[in-house]
Structures are given as C-alpha cells and as structure tokens.
C-alpha cells in the first residue's frame, strides 16, 4: 500500500494497481460478516448452547470488519487527499451477462460509501456488543447473531454495490433480515405478523425500485452507477418526464425502506423485534438506506426538480406527522420508532432539498443518537423485564407509565439518554443540532427559488418543536418522578452490565461530538475545521451539483441576519419544546398502565396513530382480500387456471398423447422416416440459410 502511494495517485495505472491491491480487503469486508453468518448459522443448528463461541464470532467479525474498514478509510483518505475523484471499483465475478446487459458482482468504494461503511460497521459493532449482554438469556442466541451478521453483510452489499442490481441484492437482503429479526420471537403471532407487515409493505417499495431500474436500463443502457451517472445528464432531459418517473419510482422504494408516508406503517410495528435490532436496523442503518439511495443517485434527482419537491415535501410531512403521533405513545420503543420516522423525514427533507451533505450528515448523527436512544431504551427494558420476570408480573416492561424515577436505579443510562435527548432535540453543541439546523437552513434557502420550501421549512421547524416535546416527555416519564414499577419489582431494578453500558458510553460520546464532523461556518470551532463532511463528500456530489447549477437549483444557504434568525429560532424551538414537554409531563398525573384512564379527544386520535392502520385495512387490505377471495380464488384460480390451465393442459396432453401414440406404430422404419424428414429439414435450414 505504501509503495503504491509512493508511486503516486493520479499516475496512469495507479487506480488499477490500487483496485488490485484493495480487492481482497473489500472482499473481506463483505466476507467476514458472511463468514460470521455461516458459522453462527451452523452453530445455531448444531450447538445452540455454545453462546460463548457465538458471541466471539458474532461480535468479533463485526469488530474486525470495522477495523478493516477503519484501516481502509485511513489508507483511502490519503489517496483521496491527493486525488479525490478516484473511485475504487472491484469486480468479484461476472454475474448477469445477458446480451447487452452486463451486470458484474462488483463493489465500489467512494467517499459516500465510506461514510456509510464506517457507520454501519462502527455502530453495528457497538450494537453487537450490546446484544451480547441484552440477548444473553435468549434461547435463539446463535440464530440471532447469525441473522445480525447476515444483515450487516447485506447492508454492506447495499452500501458498496457498484450497480443498481447489486444495491438491490443488499436492499432485498436487509429486508429479509429485517423480516427475520422483527419476527425473531415468532412464537407470538403478533411478532410474526409485524415481520410480515414489514416485508409486504417493503415489497411495494421494491416494486418501485425495480421499475426505476427498468427505466434506467431503458434510458441509459446500463445499470452500473458509474455509467448511469455518466450518461444521465446527456440522455435525460432536466425536469423531463423520464427523469421524474425514474426518481419518483426510486423514491417509492425509498419510502418503503425508509418508512415515509404512505409506507411508514411497518416501522412502528417493527419494534416487535429485539431492541438492539430496532437500534441497528430500524434506526441506525437499514431505514437510512433510502436516504443513501437518494444521495447515491443525486445526479438523477438533480435532473428532476419535481421529484425533489416530492421528496422534500413527503419528508417534511412525515417528519411532522410522525412527531405528532409520538406525542401520545406510551410504549418507549414506539415513541422512538415514530421519532425515527420523523427524523427520517428530516433526512429526506434534506436530500430532497438538494442538500445531500446535510441529509447524510443527519443520517450519521441520527445513527449515533438514535442508536443510543434505542440501546438506552433497551437497557431500561432489560432492567424492567428483569424486574417483572423476577416477580412473575405480567405488566408491560416497555410501557413508560410503568416506569418513572429510573434515574436513581440506572444513572449511567439516564445520563446517556439525556445526552441523546439533547442531541435529538437540537441543543448545541450536541450532534443533532448541527445536522438538523443545516437541513432546515437549506430548506429555507431553497425557498427563495421555490416558495413551497418555506412551507416545508415551517413543517420541519414545527416538527423540531414536537421532537423536543416528546423527548422531554419520554425522559420525564421514564427517568424522573415517582417510580410506578411496583413495590416488589423495584428491588430488582438495576443498572445494565458493562457490556451494555460500554457501547452506550461510546455512542454517547459520538452523540456529543458527532456534530464536529460538519461544523457550520458560524460556529466557533475549537481546533476542528468547518464542513469536513461537506468537503469529504464533494467529489461524490460534484456531478449532481453541476446538474443542479445548470437547472438553477443549486443548494444555497442564507447568510447574515437570516442565518442568525434561523439558528436562534432553532435553538429557541428546541429549548421551548423541551421545557414544554417537561412541564406538561411532570404536571400530568402519573399512574401505572393498568390504572390509566382511556384517552379522549385528539389525544385518542394520536394514541391510535390517526387510525392509519385501520384506514389501510379498510381501504386496501379488506377489498383486496375480498377481491382475491371472490374473483381471484373462485373465478380466476378455480375457473380459469384450474379449469383452463391445469385441466386444460392435462386434456391437451392427453389429446396430444393420443395422437403421439398413433405415431408409435412400433415400426422402426416409420420412426426413421420421421427422423429423417426432420434431419433433412434442419440440413436445409443450414445449407440454404
């Protein structure tokens, strides 16, 4: 590697040498989690009790992957320092060579993928470590880690894939793992149903992704990122129907995977899985895949301003909508789930605005603090569960009404959750402040060109207020006030073991300092430069920015008084939200869940999540089931397929068989004559072609 660098980036042939040298490393990054999956899978079949080995393998491969990724990062940042637009592409083997379509099993590594790689492996490692403690008592320990490793493998394929089909493998793979892990405790029908729901809702999104791929293939004649993005500005008219269709279909995929309106419904249900899974898959990594996809295809989105508007609008609406639901949830994980949906909305607002860096930045910081929140919640649930388990109580360990005053029993968790709350609420200098503020600033800036973005900005700001509110509510209900767990149970509440608090601490640090990745210019930096992530991602976004400039929609920031107003407003909103949430919650009468009065009025609507699930059930599921039963089953399946297809085919075969059996005269000469006629025909075809 070093002698490679000595040869000098930018020299002819250097990239080939580099790709050759990095090939095993990149294969290793994919291969290690796969190995972990295979080993753990084997263990889960043969030695489910060997938890020590499973932990070592499961967490070990992830840590090793992270270290490999880190080392790769160090090496490549040296390269990119000299020549930022070198993209490492490694073709492992040829996958689909059909006619003009040539899809290789290829991986690519650029700055954007590197960010995702580090987040996935880094946060993933922490969550794996946490899981070692959290899942300790579970029977499906080996299976759990096998799934988790498989998930990481697919996530890395998604991130590193060098073409749309490669990304789609990862896309589908993480969906599969998500399904498997949501329904991890599948013996309870609700959990299995939640898994199915996630899977089916995601199918709708995948359908959009597939259609987008077909259109891309039709428009550009290629599916690999490099070629598509290279050709797209030439073959796709800016703002044209094709570009808009492609990006809208892509966004449909994103909406499914990243839980945006109208396909967000699966994510809250996905909390049925183990909490670390929620942290890893349904907060930090998989659900951000949609954001990553938009960021990856920023060239295409830059070509379609309408789609950008849709993305930003849906993002803003989702942010606000989910935040309102989060106001009145009692399940600690549900609150966080809606919070996740809301924050994802922010990210889409960011990438929809064209501020890809801001969106990715929020993705990263969100990964830190939301993982922290989920793991903290996991720690709380762990403790609560132990308490209820010890006393054989059947109360809900996740209901915040049953908690209260936990700060006394779990000080470390409480402090870290507090940090995360400040981060997500947007209090400087915590990570969330910078990223959220940047998104809102860009949205406001774009409003100068497209006034609709002022509206989106307003929705985002309001959502920020609500975010601060429900987070304060969560903290107040969980950690402060009187304890409502119960007399006997209270004895069993305790802080989580170090293997769980350790990752929490690391994540806490990251939530605290994550904002330093991309400090805005107005912020007085201490030793750290401004806009690191911005510069880091510049080569990836360059093409998209060029397109955006040509369209006249380059992302812009306001400066001066407006900027000060925005920043001040954001801080004010956060503080206001936190205070309101704290005050309102502390003043409400707190009773355990089983004593709680039913919700009334608008609270009831919020509590029931605006009845969206019921709406979907009435509008889509039931008509579909009825249609399937009456038309598809009775008419199409029994009538057409069974009658015409199956029995008809049988009848046809019988008829043909009868004719054929007439030919079987047993006379060899006849056979030979027939054969010869065919042979002469073929010969004629060849000779007189």
């Amino acid at each position: 590697m070093l002698d490679l660098l000595a040869a000098g980036p930018g020299q002819p042939g250097f990239l080939d040498l580099l790709q050759g040298a990095l090939r095993p490393t990149i294969a290793l990054i994919i291969g290690l989690p796969l190995l972990g999956f295979l080993l753990n899978g084997a263990l889960s079949l043969w030695r489910p009790a060997a938890k020590g080995a499973v932990s070592v393998i499961g967490a070990g491969v992830l840590l090793t992957t992270f270290l490999v990724a880190l080392q790769l990062f160090l090496q490549l940042s040296a390269v990119w320092h000299v020549k930022p637009d070198e993209v490492i592409r490694v073709t492992l083997w040829s996958w689909i060579p059909v006619g003009d379509l040539r899809v290789d099993f290829a991986l690519q590594l650029d700055q954007l993928a590197m960010v995702m790689l580090l987040v996935v492996t880094g946060v993933g490692s922490l969550i794996h470590l946490f899981s070692v403690g959290y899942m300790k008592a579970d029977e499906g320990y080996a299976r759990y880690f096998a799934y988790l490793n498989l998930f990481v493998m697919f996530m890395l394929v998604l991130v590193l894939g060098a073409s749309f089909p490669m990304m789609f493998i990862g896309w589908e793979g993480v969906g599969l793992c998500s399904y498997l892990l949501i329904g991890f405790w599948f013996s309870e029908p609700a959990n299995a149903d939640a898994g199915k729901k996630a899977f089916i809702v995601n199918r709708i999104g995948d359908f959009g992704f597939l259609l987008a791929m077909f259109l891309i293939w039709q428009a550009t004649g290629s599916l690999s990122f490099a070629e598509v993005f290279d050709r797209a500005p030439q073959v796709l008219a800016a703002g044209g129907a094709m570009a808009t269709a492609i990006t809208l279909f892509l966004f449909l995929g994103c909406a499914g995977k990243s839980a945006q309106i109208p396909l967000y419904v699966w994510l809250p249900d996905a909390m049925a899985g183990p909490t670390p899974v929620s942290a890893l898959i349904h907060a930090a990594t998989m659900v951000t895949a949609g954001v990553y996809l938009v960021a990856r295809t920023n060239v295409l989105f830059a070509l379609a301003p309408t789609s950008q508007m849709v993305v930003a609008g849906v993002g803003a609406l989702t942010a606000l909508f989910a935040a309102t639901i989060g106001l009145r949830q009692y399940d600690i994980k549900k609150v966080l789930a809606y919070s996740t949906v809301s924050q994802l909305g922010y990210m889409f607002l960011g990438v929809g605005t064209g501020a890809i860096t801001a969106g990715v930045f929020h993705l990263v910081t969100h990964a830190f603090f939301k993982a922290l929140l989920f793991l903290g919640a996991g720690s709380v649930i762990h403790s609560m569960h132990h308490a209820y388990h010890a006393t054989h109580s059947h109360d809900d360990a996740q209901d915040m009404r049953n908690m209260g005053g936990l700060a006394k029993y779990m000080p470390v968790t409480a402090v870290l959750m507090g940090i995360a709350t400040l981060a997500i609420a947007g209090i400087p200098p915590f990570a969330g402040f910078f990223s959220k503020d940047e998104i809102l600033a860009f949205a406001f800036g774009r409003g100068a060109q497209q006034p609709a973005f002022y509206l989106f900005w307003g929705m985002g700001a309001l959502a920020a207020l609500l975010t601060a509110f429900y987070m304060a509510r969560l903290m107040a209900m969980t950690f402060f006030g009187p304890n409502r767990t119960g007399e006997a149970e209270r004895q069993h509440l305790h802080e989580a073991p170090w293997i769980m608090t350790g990752p929490l601490l690391v994540l806490g640090l990251l939530s605290l300092a994550g904002g330093w990745l991309n400090l805005p210019e107005f912020f007085p930096a201490i030793g750290a430069p401004h806009g690191v992530l911005h510069h880091w991602l510049e080569p990836v976004l360059e093409a998209g920015n060029r397109v955006a400039e040509s369209v006249g929609l380059a992302p812009a920031l306001s400066h001066g008084a407006t900027e000060a107003f925005l920043v001040g407003g954001a801080i004010l909103t956060a503080v206001l939200g936190l205070t309101l949430g704290w005050v309102v919650t502390r003043r409400a009468v707190a009773v355990p869940a089983h004593d709680a009065a039913p919700e009334t009025g608008f609270w009831k609507v919020l509590y029931h999540k605006y009845y969206v699930d019921e709406l979907y059930d009435w509008c889509i599921v039931r008509p579909l089931v009825a249609f399937s039963r009456v038309v598809l089953w009775k008419k199409v399946d029994q009538g057409v397929i069974d009658g015409g297809g199956v029995n008809g085919a049988a009848g046809l075969s019988r008829a043909l068989g009868w004719i054929g059996s007439r030919l079987q005269s047993g006379q060899v000469n006849v056979y030979v004559v027939l054969f010869l006629v065919g042979a002469i025909y073929v010969l004629g075809m060849v000779a007189w072609r």
Partner: protein, 98 residues
C-alpha cells in the same frame, strides 16, 4: 487434398445407410446399415483430421468403441428377440406400438 471428395463419399455412404435402414426389415441388416452410417461419419472425421490435427481420429476411435459396444449389445438383443419371435423381421416386432 481429398477433403471435398472424402466428404462427398461419406455423404453418399451415409445416404445409402439411411436408405438401407428405411428399406430393409431384417433387424440385422438394419443394424449393418447403421454401422455403414457410422463408418461414413468416421470417414468425415478422418477427412477433417487431415486438415486439423488428430482429434478427429480420436473421435473415430470413440465411435468405433461405441459401435463395438453397440454391436455386442444389439446383437444380443436381436438374439433374445429371435428366441421369442423366431424372427428378426422388424415389421413383426412392434412391442413399442402405442
């Protein structure tokens, strides 16, 4: 070079073999006509091997092996058919009739 004429002779022999299979009813004679066809193909292989290395001759070698195996098994079958039917006339042996 005798490539063209060899191929033509091979084609004629093959055709005669085909005609024999079509015309004759005696199983053994039909068998012999099949052997004739195989020989014609062998000639093709050898003629082409003259131009392009000995692989063609290796194929002839394989064809001969197959022919020998075929003759052994085929004649054994004909023998056992003869034991049942007291005839090797294929027009009378139509057990395969559908």
């Amino acid at each position: 070079m005798l490539l063209g004429p060899s191929l033509a002779v091979s084609a004629i022999l093959f055709t005669i073999g085909v005609a024999g299979v079509l015309l004759r009813r005696n199983a053994i004679v039909i068998f012999m006509c099949v052997e004739l066809m195989l020989n014609a193909v062998n000639l093709t292989f050898v003629a082409l091997s003259q131009a392009y290395g000995s692989s063609g001759q290796v194929f002839v070698f394989f064809v001969m092996t197959v022919a020998a195996a075929e003759a052994a098994v085929g004649l054994a079958i004909i023998l056992s058919i003869y034991r049942h039917h007291k005839s090797v006339d294929l027009q009378q042996i139509n057990l395969l009739r559908g």
